[in-house]
Subunit: 90 residues, 5 copies
């Protein structure tokens, strides 16, 4: 998992059936000081994260488990928001 | 998932049977400002993306689910275009 | 696997059900000289690692096996602390 | 998938049983202009690629499907040549 | 797969049960000229590699197949030495 800030969303009409009805958020990975690292990713959101919030991101096959009902079969998702970060403890 | 721009295609006659009949597009990853990041990848296309369009890319095992009928068994694909981006919302 | 130092933790109330009750540690990847490399990750801990300790990290589907009882199904985790490093031998 | 140029091979007598009888080619990832990017990888070859040819590479679990008969079980392979590139179209 | 040089080992008493009895080697990734690239990883060894030897490394789920008897279930391993490199052919 890594930490990221939600900075926007993507609108896509023509997409894989497994992504229909999912929110596609643009997330900027950050370090523990809240500074931007690497590049933006696009993550599905199943925890109700809003723009400006700090979140936890999972990549790969774990991301498909975050989608609940839709299961693993036929699900193309490889990046999900799985938690909203309340605070960092040093 | 990440954002990319379709910039070309690859012609390959001699290839794995699971790739026969698939369009192999060269995609340039981009950030939310549309600027090029990292390096080109080659992705299969199942949503009908054209050159110059902005798309969503999945990597790894999720990419195989994008190929529909061909299923997961015997499918070598690890990178798929899964959506066409209409617009970014900040 | 790679080596990392535990540098903090993340508090997240609203998160995927599979992460409830798990400790979410911030880990800083290090090289064999103990110097910081790359960027922080967030890893679940099943070996009782404390802040300041050097640990072994696994990524991807192997990380879900580290969670024991919770199994692979419905588990979003993609990063786990799987060992505490006693020492490096050159 | 990404594009690469075959630049050599690796000879290994003592290796995992699942790699016995496979050609282990050193491939240099390239961009669409044919310039070297990142670092060399070692890929199995099931399409008969020769040194100097441009090829398509898959990583991860998809690479095991490229090995045909050997299947997914007990196969350690995580990188395969899956196509020979005839040409790039812009 | 990528090429690496074995440069040391890690001693860990408190670790995931699936790693007990396994040798944990520190490996430095190298290019085809034998120069260090990227950063060290920690890999299990099932081919009897010694310090100073050049080896082949697999990452991800393929690494679990290298562990033989221990199988894929409950195995956290994501990085294995799968071959000793005798020589590179250009």
């Amino acid at each position: 998992m890594y930490m990221a800030k939600v900075i926007g969303s993507v609108v896509s009409t023509q997409k894989d059936p497994s992504l229909v009805g999912k929110k596609l958020m643009i997330v900027q990975p950050i370090n523990a000081q809240g500074e931007s690292i690497r590049y933006e990713e696009v993550a599905t959101d199943s925890v109700g994260a809003g723009i400006g919030e700090y979140v936890l991101i999972v990549k790969g096959s774990g991301a498909r488990s975050a989608d609940g009902r839709s299961g693993l079969e036929g699900n193309v998702n490889d990046c999900s928001i799985v938690g909203i970060i309340d605070r960092f403890d040093g």
